[in-house]
């Protein structure tokens, strides 16, 4: 039922965007470096927050690409390049993770030999939580993510020229493998980088919780990019509100999923009331943390839930863009809430510092720069994909 005529002509992203990314990154990085000399512990914790945020956007995007291949979705095919560009962040992680590994003693209690000596629980967890195994896991996971990123995007780009349909089949297979790799590596990453900050605490749902946030963040980033590009005319007239609706519906679904998982985690611990589990939430109820905990419910669930509840609101580009920015911030707050209370000096309540604000600036700059860098090399639309026609003609 394709009546739409479709001719793609590559239109470069404005050079200013790339410059803006570099500017933000340089300013943010300079401030962050200053912060590092002011308060090393706080700086490295904040660095971890921004690092996990970048993992969320990059890895979540790759997950959504894989999901599209496996599910055989049409509607997202024309905008698949956007998550592909974001997934370019994954190889960058190989560099970004280095400071965390260098300063792991500031972050991880279990990395201290003297803490291990008279702590039975840490001794029991030592076969998993030790520095060498931690390094191995980190690099294996980042390596696997980068590998799948290269394979999936390379096939996708090759298809632009060759129009070879068998590449889609190949990518479907790779995606199926990646989903399993993704589930395991994401869970262990969440455990390694965030849950192990408090090594005495455990929650079996933690990986799923981080997964829910990851997808929200990646979808939000994609939505911002799509709406922005649409407004600037990078997509043809074929892009209707029905495409936006699908993005909005997915966002809405994953907000609910996040709330469901977050509440499940909270309710089981609240109900069982075991001291070995509850202290984690009690720490997040000390002093100012109480307000941040409550704020998280409002920011990450209630406001976006009602903002996206009706069908027209999911189709409204302006509202969608606003909510997507909002949700990116919400996910940052979520990670902040997961990570920061584990800092020694923050256990008794939140103390504001300018340091908390500078790292996301550098992160934002980096994401913009990587996005424009990736966009330079590829078409904005996967013109060789066999599903592209159906995707462009997509209607609800």
């Amino acid at each position: 039922m394709s009546q739409t005529d479709f001719h793609y002509q590559k239109k470069e992203l404005p050079a200013n965007l790339s410059k803006l990314g570099i500017l933000l990154f340089v300013v943010g990085a300079a401030l962050s470096l200053t912060a590092f000399f002011v308060d090393q512990e706080r700086a490295i914790f904040n660095y971890l927050v921004t690092y996990m945020m970048i993992v969320s956007i990059g890895l979540g995007s790759l997950f959504l690409i894989a999901l599209e291949y496996i599910a055989g979705a049409d509607w997202s095919t024309p905008i698949r390049r956007i998550p592909e560009f974001f997934a370019m962040l994954l190889p960058v992680l190989l560099v970004l993770v280095v400071p965390i590994l260098i300063f792991n003693h500031d972050l991880f209690h279990w990395a201290h030999k003297e803490a291990l000596a008279d702590d039975k629980i840490l001794q029991g967890k030592a076969p998993y939580l030790n520095e060498s195994f931690f390094y191995i896991r980190t690099f294996v996971f980042i390596g696997l993510w980068s590998l799948f990123f290269f394979v999936l995007t390379k096939n996708s780009r090759k298809q632009d020229e060759t129009k070879d349909q068998s590449l889609t089949k190949k990518n479907i297979r790779f995606s199926a493998i990646f989903i399993i790799v993704f589930a395991l590596s994401l869970t262990f990453t969440a455990i390694d980088f965030m849950m192990s900050l408090e090594p005495h605490w455990f929650s079996t749902i933690y990986g799923v919780y981080y997964f829910a946030g990851t997808v929200v963040a990646a979808l939000a980033a994609i939505t911002i990019a799509v709406v922005k590009l649409k407004e600037k005319g990078y997509f043809g007239t074929w892009m209707t509100n029905d495409h936006l609706f699908s993005l909005g519906a997915l966002l809405f679904a994953f907000i609910n999923f996040w709330a469901y998982i977050a509440f499940s985690q909270f309710m089981l611990i609240w109900y069982a009331d075991l001291p070995e589990e509850t202290f984690w939430f009690l720490t997040r109820w000390n002093g100012g943390w109480m307000f941040i905990s409550l704020l998280l419910i409002v920011v990450h669930f209630l406001v976006p839930y009602f903002a996206l509840l009706t069908q027209p609101s999911k189709m409204n580009p302006k509202r969608l863009k606003f909510i997507a920015v909002w949700l990116l911030f919400a996910h940052l707050l979520d990670i902040f809430w997961l990570v920061m209370p584990n800092m020694g000096t923050m256990k008794n309540g939140y103390v504001f510092s300018w340091i908390d604000l500078v790292f996301p600036i550098a992160g934002l700059g980096l994401v913009i720069f990587v996005f424009t860098f990736a966009a330079k090399k590829a078409n904005l639309i996967p013109i060789g994909d066999p599903k592209i026609k159906r995707g462009i003609d997509f209607h609800l």
């Binding site: 039922m1 309710m267 609240w270 109900y271 009331d273 069908q311 027209p312 003609d393 209607h395 609800l396």
Partner: protein, 388 residues
């Protein structure tokens, strides 16, 4: 044209989804409003092609969802926090986190069921279930592999010949005139439907009965029942003798229980001595227990004049010479052991209460045969001198 039949609309079928989209676009552009599309599966882009307004069904969902949430929250709030507050797991009476799963479930349940129910009711025009398109050739083909378009006669622009010509221009496979059904053409209570309802009821109740009473005791569903643990009053493989509840060791004495050495003897050679003193409290206790346990047969004054008198054997008086000559221990023995038709009261009256009854029986016996001196003594004690 049949004058008795009223025209519902004119239907046309098409072969492909592309054709039906095009037909829908043409029809809506031609200004028809009351027309409908029937397809075997959802065709994307149909809402836009038909120029439909957004469905109002969402409001039903919203209202019923809110209703479900309020019902669940208010019911739990009223029952668990106000009407019958019980401490559960040390949680507050109004434990919101514990209420949320049920609130969520009921919200979703009412919202979805009412949405589906309303949708079906609107589509089928319930409760009559007489949508004119039922049982037409048109409906048979569009619920199989064709794509159909109906222009309804209630449309302002409707004109039979015009519409027919209009449809012909769209190159349909078939066209069909659909009439309103005759009265009672589709009664909901026709025998076939009733039979269907009955068989559903039988299948559902049979299935429920089977799964609850039969299926659940078949392996592996019975694993919850077959637990490796000792169940009271049931045999168990854990012990060598196969009993779940073990017998006490020989000679075990239950707590608060002192065994009676002369149990079972009709004419004991020796009996116990009375260990209690007839104090006022003791006699009050004896009186109360005598009224409860003894008076139904022996009477309130132990004359054997209760309402059982006249039956065989008559309940005996306790003022006979034989009874008066019994030692305290012998009366105790009779209460404990029973005599003739009188059963043993050892399981109902405690040891101390039995002795208190013995003391009270002695009081009754003496009261019945009081000497003059007793009367004088009693009056003295009561501080009066009426008797003399």
């Amino acid at each position: 044209m049949n004058n008795e039949k009223k025209l519902y609309g004119i239907a046309a079928t098409f072969k492909t989804p592309d054709e039906i989209i095009k037909a829908a676009k043409t029809t809506s552009s031609a200004g028809y409003i009351s027309f409908d599309i029937n397809t075997p599966y959802p065709v994307h882009g149909m809402d836009g092609a038909m120029k439909l307004k957004p469905s109002k069904l969402g409001f039903v969902t919203l209202i019923m969802g809110l209703t479900g949430a309020s019902i669940a929250l208010l019911l739990m709030f009223y029952t668990m926090s106000i009407e019958y507050p019980i401490v559960i797991g040390g949680k507050p009476f109004f434990a919101l986190p514990a209420f949320i799963p049920i609130t969520f479930e009921l919200t979703v349940l009412l919202a979805t069921l009412s949405t589906v129910g309303t949708m079906i009711a609107l589509f089928f025009r319930l409760p009559d279930n007489k949508h004119p398109l039922h049982d037409t050739e048109y409906m048979k083909s569009v619920s199989n592999d064709k794509f159909g378009l109906v222009i309804e006669s209630e449309d302002e622009k409707f004109n039979e010949t015009e519409v027919l010509n209009f449809l012909k221009k769209l190159n349909p496979l078939t066209t069909e005139l659909v009439y309103f059904p005759q009265e009672e053409a589709y009664p909901i209570l026709q025998p076939k439907f009733l039979l269907f309802l009955i068989s559903v009821a039988i299948v559902v109740s049979g299935g429920t009965y089977f799964s609850l009473n039969k299926l659940l005791i078949i392996t592996p569903f019975n694993w919850m029942m077959d637990q490796e643990k000792v169940i009271p009053q049931k045999p168990s493989d854990i012990f060598a003798d196969g009993r779940g509840m073990q017998l006490p060791v020989n000679g075990t004495v239950a707590r608060g229980f002192i065994p009676y050495p002369y149990a079972g003897q009709t004419n004991p050679v020796e009996v116990l001595a009375n260990p209690t003193l007839p104090t006022k409290e003791n006699l009050e206790l004896g009186k109360a227990k005598f009224f409860t346990y003894c008076s139904p047969c022996h009477g309130y004054f132990a004359d054997g004049d209760s309402r059982l008198r006249g039956q065989f054997p008559n309940p005996p008086t306790l003022h006979s010479k034989r009874a008066k000559d019994f030692s305290d221990g012998m009366i105790y023995h009779i209460i404990t052991n029973g005599q003739n038709v009188m059963p043993s009261y050892s399981s109902q009256i405690t040891r101390d209460e039995r002795w208190a009854i013995v003391n009270y029986v002695r009081v009754l016996q003496r009261a019945k045969n009081a000497s003059d001196q007793d009367l004088i003594d009693m009056n003295k004690e009561a501080g009066s001198n009426v008797a003399n």
